[in-house]
């Protein structure tokens, strides 16, 4: 294995790196992001601590690996929806539901994306979270503007505020779901929320 290329540059990922990232995601989902330690991760993989450092330079690089994976998948969805020539409200729904499903099926994603408070001390992690959010904001803005131009979305709305409302309400819903020990059906509640949001946008 070319150490330089994979451990440092990391445009692509080796099979082992993918396995480690996958185990890390599981660990976060089962325990919590606080329990994602090198020791726990190595134990889960049945290896010793040192072995992980053959594949990643640092723990932060593992976290970045997770974030980049999510980001790549999210970007694909956003681009695909943007390209589709569906009505703006349908595109809005597609993005909303895709993300909602993702949070429901992979609770670790939410755990990571919502951990700004833990990442605060690292520039790269902060930047990655920031990019993830900005990416969603930008796509929503394009879709909403297009919808307004095509007369599918109400002209009077304030775009920035609508974006904050959309992303913020989903985030809060997921936060509540997690804080309350997942005692309600996230997807169902999310669909109701979506209905409400679409009402705001409709002409």
């Amino acid at each position: 294995m070319n150490v330089y290329l994979h451990k440092n540059a990391m445009h692509t990922k080796t099979e082992k790196q993918r396995q480690i990232i996958e185990a890390a995601i599981e660990l976060i989902a089962e325990k919590s992001i606080q329990q994602l330690t090198i020791k726990n991760l190595a134990k889960k993989l049945g290896v010793t601590d040192g072995a992980l450092y053959r594949h990643f330079n640092s723990k932060i690089d593992i976290l970045l690996g997770i974030l980049h994976m999510f980001q790549a998948e999210a970007r694909e969805n956003l681009e695909q929806v943007k390209k589709s020539r569906l009505p703006a409200l349908q595109q809005f729904e597609d993005i909303f539901l895709y993300r909602l499903k993702y949070f429901t099926q992979r609770p670790a994603v939410a755990a990571v994306i919502f951990s700004e408070s833990i990442f605060q001390n690292d520039v790269r992690l902060t930047r990655a979270v920031n990019e993830f959010l900005t990416m969603h904001e930008d796509t929503l803005r394009i879709i909403i503007e297009r919808g307004i131009r095509k007369g599918e979305i109400r002209k009077g709305i304030l775009i920035d505020e609508t974006i904050y409302i959309t992303i913020g309400s989903m985030r809060y819903l997921v936060t509540r779901w997690r804080l309350k020990g997942r005692d309600f059906d996230l997807y169902e509640k999310g669909v109701q929320l979506l209905g409400n949001l679409k009402e705001l946008l409709k002409c």
Copy 2:
């Protein structure tokens, strides 16, 4: 000082306890919640680590002290607004702006309230954050229901979803403000957001 009463029961707080809490809030605001360590806090107060343990049993008790302080102030505001016989939309605005000002003027409040990911491993902290949120949700629900009955708020709205939208969008606005290094006027943006939210509620 009666150690048992103040260190353990803590219905009231001594002057020293208040000073420590105040210093902790400042520390969080200046640095971050990650930098709130016993050592840093003691240094800020010009004492040694051990001295803090004369006033609090653990670091978690200090954090709980902060949360309880915020909670008490928030509760006072919520109760006062609820008692006032102002129109529902005005009450909604009062609560929204009170909280927005609080976040603007005391950024540490947001840092603490938004740190669920860090608190996950402690039951008491999780519960305190939960209570804080529930308190706001409950008050908003009462105000909105009352507004609907009095014909001041649109009948068709879904109450739960509206609450998620309100709290979620403010949280996200503050999160963005913090992540972007406070590069926009939080209060101004918040007022715009409020305008948008009031539109949803209006008949």
